[in-house]
Each structure stands twice: as structure tokens, then as C-alpha cells.
Amino acid sequence: MAEAAKKKNLDGAPVIDFDKFRPTRSSENARKRKDYFMTGLIGLSFVIACIPLISVLWTTLVNGFKRLNLNFLSYNMTGVVGGNPTPSGGYGGVLHAIIGTLEITGGAMLISIPIGIMCAVYLVEYAHGGKLAMTISLLVDVMSGIPSIVAGLFAFSMFTIVFGPGTINGFEGSVALSLLMLPTVVKSCEEMLKIVPNDLREASLALGVTKQRTITKIVLRTALPGIVSGCILAIARVIGETAPLLMTAGYIASTNVNLFSGQMTTLPVYVYQEYSKLNANCPVNADASCVPTIPMERSWAAALVLIIIVLLLNLIGRVVAKVFAVKTER
């Protein structure tokens, strides 16, 4: 009996009953049910993921739109007393915060994007997995986990040591933000450089092109769209930072365009400050033009401005990526 079950072919290979492995009707039905179930589950997860996103956008739009006008965009917070309107007819604005946000983030970009790209080039093109490269990679990973407040403290203490105690200016904020940006820039650039096919490097080197020009003209050029979107993501991550900027760049009501001296306000800090005020005081006999809830409304409007700036940045990034995209046959 056992011998019959273990019948062998002439050449010694075991005999196999393939009917046993064939899918049965019930297993096919089970697979179909599983398919429906998983499709539903995945669709549901997508909807759940979208709910907070849409909710946040909607709330900001509805609340922010009330005070978002040209006056709000073209005045700062000087001369704003309680809930009373200013002589210009508005209730204060965010001009100084927009300028501060753009300058401080721009400063952070100027510091971290060149360093980040060069660091990624070193890791991918020169290091060949050596000890230094491993150390840098580890440090970059650790850096990406730094809480933003620690970056703020670092920048603050560095400027205290170098320029004396109590130094607060916009550039200090840029330094803090660049610490937060750097790991993202390095990581995304590294990934983008890695996916440039080695064939292209060889093709270029085989033409008698130097390594430097191969990297700048072929590798970086081919990776450019990815590098741009990686940098935009890094910017979008730091442009909404509040805590390190409170510490390093401070908060003022007037417009300061000098990145290197004096306090500077950014949009997130502005939002936070206005939110902290909760309500503005109105005199007992004030007329309807005095709005006690104005700080909260300014807060929402400033948040909306910040979202719009990030959106514009993203659009610019997409256009740049499209222009420099790897060409394919149309």
C-alpha cells in the first residue's frame, strides 16, 4: 500500500498528482470575497485619511476668508489698539509676517539646500559606503528626529556664544530652520541621485568627460526634478515651524526687512500670538466697528495666507520639475 502511494517514475522522480493543487470553486469564491473586502477597506482608509485634510482646509478657508483682504495683506500690526479699527480702515495685518516668513525661510534654503545637495553628492558619488559615509548617514537620520524646539535652542545658544547674550534676529531663525531642513534635503537628494542609472555616468565618463562635469551636467541634471520636489517638501515642512522661531527670531508688530538685525515675525508665530490674545478689549461705549473677536479672526486669516504660500511654492516646484523633466516622446 505504502509502496503504491510512493510510486516512482522510471528515472526516480516522484509522481505528483497535480489535481490536488488546482484551485477549487470554493477557494475561488473565497478569493473574490476577500477581494471585495480588501477593496472596500482600502477605499475606506482613503476616505478616512482625507477627512482631517479636507476638514482642516475647509475650516481655514471659511474662517480665514472673513478677514483676508488687501488691507490685511498690506499693513502690519503697528497702531492696532484693542478691537478698534486702524486709521487705514482695517484691523492690522500680516505684511511684516509675510516678509519675515519669506526671508527667514529663504535664508534657511540658502544654507541647507547647497549643503544638502553637496552632502548627497558626496554620499552617492564619492563615499562608496566608507566609514565616513556611514557616519554621515547615521547623523542625518538622527538629525531628522531632532525636535524643532531643540534646533531653536541650538541656534539660540550658538548665537549667544558668538554674538553675545540675548541676540535675536531673523538669520538666527534661518539657522534653526536649516537644521530641520537639512536631513530632509540630504535624504531626498540622496534617493534621487541613487536612481540615476549608472549607465548614464558610464556613458558620460566614456566620452572623456571629467567626473565633476559628469556629476553636474548628467547626474544632477537628470535628478533635478526629483531634487526640486524634495527641496520643496523640506521647505513646506519648516515654513510652518513656530517654536524655534519664537526663541530665535522673536516677535514684533512692525515691519523689519533686515534679516540680520532686530526681531522678525513669521506667519506661524503671528498665528500663535494672535491666538494667545483670545479676545481684544473694546471700550464699554464702543460702536459696532470695534470687534472683540478680531485676534482669532486675524489668526485664521494668517493661517490661510500661510497655506496659500505653501500652495504657491508647491506649484512653482511642479512647474520647475515639469520644465526640467526627463524628456519623453510626446
Partner: protein, 259 residues
């Protein structure tokens, strides 16, 4: 005009691993020399030492001499970048630069070396190189289209045009037809036949019929066992190699009894 290459006692290493040992071969100017042999015997490795592409792999190095028209490519004062300008290379997979148009691809070798080239000179060079690669008539109306929009065979001829546009003395080809269909292969083979009046050509191929069709000389590489270094087993003119080889291993390989 092409230049001759003489390889003397060349040992090729990947780190500590001796990949190919004691290669001695004389590659004639303005001839097509084919490298054949079983997988892993080091044909491509030897080819890549002829333009110092081998040393791009970390740890890879070469002992012995490679003389291009009498001048050792591995002398201390020789710049590998200038070697690669004299010895061009075409790869197995067509690899036009994806960010560049057909025209820019052809000019890449000149432009990337930061040489200034006037528009009329550039036009002439593009036409000369593309005509040389038998591609001009197919692409002359769409020179500004992306290079990777071409078919595989056209891309490979574009890569050949790109290689000859820097005007090398020698063109190395590493299985240039293995990713191509038979018709494109024929086009590239015809091209190789025409190119040999201007360049010395060394081609690695897995296809023995191809070697028999296009090569003047054929080198047979072999390895004793897996993990052992490869070596040059037999070198002869192509007729002898395929009709009357004076080497037992080569005869077995050519008649298809191994490899």
C-alpha cells in the same frame, strides 16, 4: 585613422580577486577584433581596461601594460579622462542621455567638456556623426526630439554617433547588439563594417555568428573553472578561428559543445 593596441602581461583585479590573468593580445589598427567566450571569462573586463573604465569600480586595478600606438595607457602621467577621449565606448544597453535631444546627445562629448562650439560647427558635427552612424536620414527632421524617444536600434546607433563625435582612435563595443532585434542588429553590424576604415574596433559578443560575420580577428577567452581567473585561450584571424582552430578548447566552444 585608427590606432593599434598592444596588451602585454595584463592582470586584472577586482580588489584582491584576480579576474583575468596574463592577457597578451595585439589589436590591429583599422580592423574589427571580436572577443568571444563563455560567461564570466572576463571579455568585458578586458575590454573595459582598454579605456580605463575598469578602474571606476572601487578597488579594481590593473597590472601590466596597455599600449595605444606604443604609449602605455597606465603610465603614471596619463590622465584617464584623456584616454577615454581617444578610446570611445558603446555599451550593451543603449544609454542616450534622457535629458537631452538627439542633437544634444551627439554634441554631449564636446559640450560636456566645456568646449565652445559655434552653431554651424555644431550642425556640421551632428550631421557628420549621424551620417557616420547611418542614422541621419531617419532623424534629420526631428533632431530636437528627445533621444530616448527613438527605437532601441536607433538609440544604439545614436550612442555610436555620440561616441564617434568626439573623434576617438578606437571604438570599444560591449555586446552592442544583445539588446536589439535582428533588423537593428543588422543595421549596427553594417555600421561596424563601415566604421573600421576610420577606427579600430574591438567588440565583445556572445553571438559567434556575429563574430564570424564582422570580425577580422577573434580572441577566445576561457576560464578553467568558476572562481578561477579567466585568460586569453586563443587568438587568431577569424577565418582560422571558425574554420580551422588550432586550439582544442576553442574548437569545442565554437562547435557548441560547451559554454
Amino acid at each position: 585613422m585608427g590606432q593599434r593596441i598592444d596588451v602585454n602581461h595584463e592582470n586584472i583585479y577586482y580588489g584582491d580577486f584576480l579576474a583575468v590573468e596574463d592577457v597578451n593580445i595585439n589589436i590591429e589598427a583599422n580592423k574589427v577584433t571580436a572577443f568571444i567566450g563563455p560567461s564570466g571569462c572576463g571579455k568585458s573586463t578586458v575590454l573595459r581596461t582598454l579605456d580605463r573604465m575598469h578602474e571606476l569600480i572601487p578597488g579594481a586595478h590593473v597590472e601590466g601594460e596597455v599600449l595605444l600606438e606604443g604609449k602605455n595607457l597606465y603610465d603614471k602621467d596619463v590622465d584617464p579622462v584623456s584616454v577615454r577621449r581617444d578610446v570611445g565606448m558603446v555599451f550593451q544597453r543603449p544609454n542616450p542621455f534622457p535629458t537631452m535631444s538627439i542633437r544634444e546627445n551627439v554634441l554631449a562629448g564636446v559640450r560636456l567638456n566645456n568646449k565652445h562650439i559655434s552653431k554651424s560647427d555644431a550642425d556640421d558635427l551632428v550631421e557628420w556623426a549621424l551620417r557616420g552612424a547611418n542614422l541621419w536620414n531617419e532623424v534629420k527632421d526631428r533632431l530636437d526630439n528627445p533621444g530616448i524617444g527613438l527605437s532601441g536600434g536607433q538609440q544604439q546607433r545614436l550612442c555610436i554617433a555620440r561616441a564617434v563625435a568626439v573623434h576617438p582612435q578606437v571604438v570599444l563595443m560591449d555586446e552592442p547588439c544583445s539588446a536589439l532585434d535582428p533588423i537593428s542588429t543588422l543595421a549596427v553590424e553594417d555600421l561596424i563594417n563601415e566604421l573600421k576604415s576610420d577606427y579600430t574596433i574591438v567588440i565583445v559578443t556572445h553571438n559567434m555568428q556575429q563574430a564570424a560575420r564582422i570580425a577580422d580577428y577573434t580572441a577566445f577567452f576561457n576560464l578553467k573553472a568558476v572562481g578561477q581567473p579567466g585568460h586569453l585561450e586563443y587568438f587568431a584571424d577569424t577565418t582560422t578561428m571558425f574554420n580551422n582552430p588550432q586550439n582544442a578548447e576553442a574548437e569545442r566552444y565554437i562547435s557548441g559543445r560547451f559554454g
